[in-house]
């Protein structure tokens, strides 16, 4: 009887949260799935069910395929830059915690994560500017010819990877620092007594023990990488003058289809593809890292 009462209380207590979650999280996903199966033009009254026609069209759409390739490269690029860099920086900061500058290091690394995206992207736009940017000035100082960073098809993608990694790094370092602080000291002391060097302790103790943290950080980084939009938009936008080359990414393509071409159903089918990609990659990451962790 008491258990039933507790059960009822638990359900009642969690119900408002579940209701809010269902409304703001599950319902939009369901609606997106529903819209993706309709010819849902934002302006027209007739919105017929067309089955998988939107998906069939998507895979013949060169802009979508471009966006898919660009987004995938950016997401994995950010992942491969951020995770190792964050791990190393967190290790350096952790092992310098006695330094009076430890707080300064942590703050410095974390600031890009909390800086508003648009002004930050504008600042990077200036850095990458082919004519006025300091990056080319530095390159030319060393005798390396300046590059058209925001216009070259390959370099413009690299610019977005750099910008996204710069922003993602602070969060990843912070989470890794929490991980480092929770590692058992005894293992490190034992390894030290056995003659393991600092680098050996990092690679053979810290890195394996931090796998759950790596799993979490990599999932979060990859998902945010696939949702890249504002960085690409700001780096290419300008009211006048020479804006940058617009790197087409999935969210940008979605927005264009929904609010410029008025094809909300078509844009929803892109969102479904994005959802599937992120879901599959997250499951794969969980599988890979958990499998190794359980060994």
């Amino acid at each position: 009887m008491l258990r039933t009462k507790k059960w009822r209380f638990a359900i009642l207590a969690i119900l408002p949260t579940l209701a809010i979650f269902a409304w703001v999280r599950m319902f939009p996903i369901w609606e997106t799935l529903r819209l993706s199966l309709h010819r849902w033009d934002i302006l027209s009254r007739d919105k017929p069910f067309i089955g998988l026609e939107n998906f069939r069209e998507l895979f013949q759409d060169q802009l979508f395929l471009n966006a898919l390739v660009n987004t995938t490269i950016i997401a994995f690029g950010v992942l491969f830059v951020t995770i190792p860099a964050a791990l190393v920086i967190a290790a350096l900061i952790y092992h310098r915690t006695r330094s009076r500058f430890a707080g300064f290091y942590e703050t410095t690394v974390f600031i890009p994560h909390i800086v508003s995206l648009v002004p930050a992207a504008m600042a990077w736009k200036w850095i990458f500017d082919a004519n006025l940017g300091p990056l080319n000035a530095v390159l030319e100082f060393f005798g390396i010819p300046g590059q058209a960073w925001l216009f070259d098809p390959v370099l413009s993608v690299i610019c977005i990877i750099i910008l996204c990694s710069w922003q993602a790094l602070g969060y990843a370092v912070l989470i890794y620092l929490v991980g480092f602080k929770n590692l058992p000291h005894t293992l490190f002391e034992a390894a030290k007594l056995d003659g393991a060097s600092g680098i050996q302790r990092f690679f053979f103790i810290s890195v394996p023990l931090l796998r759950p943290i790596t799993l979490y950080v990599s999932v979060v980084t990859l998902i945010s990488g696939f949702n890249v939009y504002a960085q690409a938009f700001v780096l290419a936008s300008d009211s006048q003058g020479a804006p940058g080359r617009l790197v087409r990414v999935l969210v940008l393509d979605m927005l264009e289809n929904a609010f410029r071409n008025y094809r909300v159903g078509y844009a929803a089918s892109e969102a479904v593809i994005l959802l599937c990609i992120v879901l599959v990659l997250t499951l794969v990451q969980f599988g890979l890292l958990r499998e190794k962790w359980n060994r």
Binding site: I42, L43, A148, L150, D238, Q240, G241, P243, R260, Y262
Partner: protein, 430 residues
């Protein structure tokens, strides 16, 4: 005092307060102007001020944002509703889809008479504000292209006249380009639209294509459409971009471009609309420049004012605003202070055009000068945005320069995509 008496007094007081608030809101009418051209804000404020005597309780809020965001705002605002009374500034071609879906009402009879009667507007502008003979908007201004050129740079290059043919444009660009010691261009001879999102790249390409006798979309006799650029005109237009970029090196994608570059002396010439005249007057008043008509003709993009409500006090005030915007005094103010070309024809603009000779290229068109506009079809933005994305790829590909076969293959692929969009919408010519 009994309980009932207290209650009834409280209710009466509440009713009085409510009535007073209601009366106040009925007296003060508020309309909001949605604009996609931030430089138009002073004009709309000027129009609002000019209405103060006749409409003392009218409050006009002007909300101007960048054009692409403005178009998104309209798509969401008109379908979602609840925006209050709006005066919406919109290109006729873009408004078509809203009209087809009954999201924009027809103008009242007196406004329709103003638009169609008294010789206020030419047939071209009446048509772009109408659908099936019904008037939906009030014409206001248009975007029309002409060449802007720096007269000091022309003089230094020994050029006394503006280019007269498209071939001249390339020759002039080569002569006007300033280079550093290594031969790299530091001042572009001819600034071209080569990058950036949206449909701007395709619109600018269409202007150049038109000079070669082509058109991005061609209408057939039965009223349907097809891509009209996978041909010799398209090849010549695209090749001109590529030759300037990669063969003659008169311009590079990363060079400063557009009006800003022109004002700073970073380009010798470029094609743009008349608003640049007002912009130069404000930002670079000492710049020595002139304008010239394009060799064959120009785009004319009419922008009209629409209202989101069919009737009511708000709608009346909004249409009154649209009419006031077309008062001669206000239109002259628009031309003089903003630079966009008013569409109303029976107004004397000579006080401005004589004082600012650069306007002559926009208003004194040579004999046989032709105009084209964007077709009023639903998918026009999609067609242009997708073509713009394709062109951006082409402009970044040096291997296409002076390779007619490669250019033809590119244009054929792009035209296929354009035709696919038209087919999906049931608009493709058979």
């Amino acid at each position: 005092m009994g309980r009932h008496t207290k209650t009834s007094m409280t209710l009466s007081a509440a009713l009085l307060v409510g009535t007073a608030i209601g009366a106040n809101s009925a007296a003060a009418e508020t309309i909001t102007v949605w604009s996609g051209f931030p430089e138009m804000v002073p004009f709309y404020e000027h129009v609002a001020a000019s209405m103060a005597d006749d409409h003392p309780d009218l409050e006009v809020n002007v909300e101007a944002i960048a054009l692409r965001e403005h178009e998104r705002r309209i798509a969401l605002g008109l379908t979602g509703g609840g925006q209050g009374t709006l005066v919406i500034e919109l290109a006729g071609s873009t408004a078509q889809r809203y009209i087809e879906n009954e999201l924009l009402p027809a103008v009242p009879d007196d406004v329709a008479s103003f638009v169609t009667g008294d010789g206020n507007f030419s047939e071209f502008f009446i048509n772009t504000a109408s659908d099936g003979g019904t008037v939906y908007g009030v014409p206001l201004f248009r975007g029309q292209g002409a060449l802007f050129y720096n007269t000091d740079m022309f003089e230094a290059a020994g050029l006394s006249e503006p280019p007269a043919t498209m071939a001249d444009y390339t020759t002039y660009a080569e002569q006007l380009t300033e280079r550093d010691a290594d031969g790299n261009p530091i001042v572009s001879g001819w600034s071209l639209r080569l990058s950036g999102g949206g449909q701007g790249i395709a619109e600018k390409f269409w202007i150049n294509l038109f000079q070669f006798g082509g058109s991005v979309l061609e209408q057939t006799d039965d009223g349907t459409w097809q891509a009209g650029y996978a041909n010799e005109a398209g090849r010549n237009a695209l090749n001109q971009y590529l030759v300037n970029l990669y063969t003659l090196d008169t311009v590079t994608p990363e060079m400063p471009a557009d009006a800003e570059a022109f004002q700073r002396g970073q380009t010798a010439m470029f094609i743009r609309e008349s608003w640049v005249i007002g912009d130069i007057a404000a930002r670079a008043p000492d710049l020595n420049y002139a304008t010239a008509p394009l060799p064959v003709g120009s785009i004319a993009l009419p922008v009209n004012l629409y209202v989101n409500e069919a009737d009511g006090d708000g709608a009346d005030a909004a249409w009154a605003f649209a009419m006031a915007a077309n008062e001669p005094e206000n239109l002259v103010w628009l031309l003089e202070n903003v630079g966009w070309l008013p569409n109303r024809i029976n107004v004397d603009y000579s006080s401005v055009t004589e004082a600012v000779p650069q306007f002559s290229a926009f208003v004194d068109n040579p004999a046989g000068f032709e105009f084209f506009t964007l077709p009023a079809i639903g998918p026009i933005e999609e067609v242009l945005t997708r073509l713009a994305a394709q062109l951006e790829q082409a402009f970044a590909d040096p291997s296409l320069a002076d390779d007619p076969d490669a250019i033809d293959a590119f244009l054929a692929a792009a035209a296929e995509e354009t035709n696919r969009i038209l087919e999906r919408e049931g608009l493709l010519a058979q």
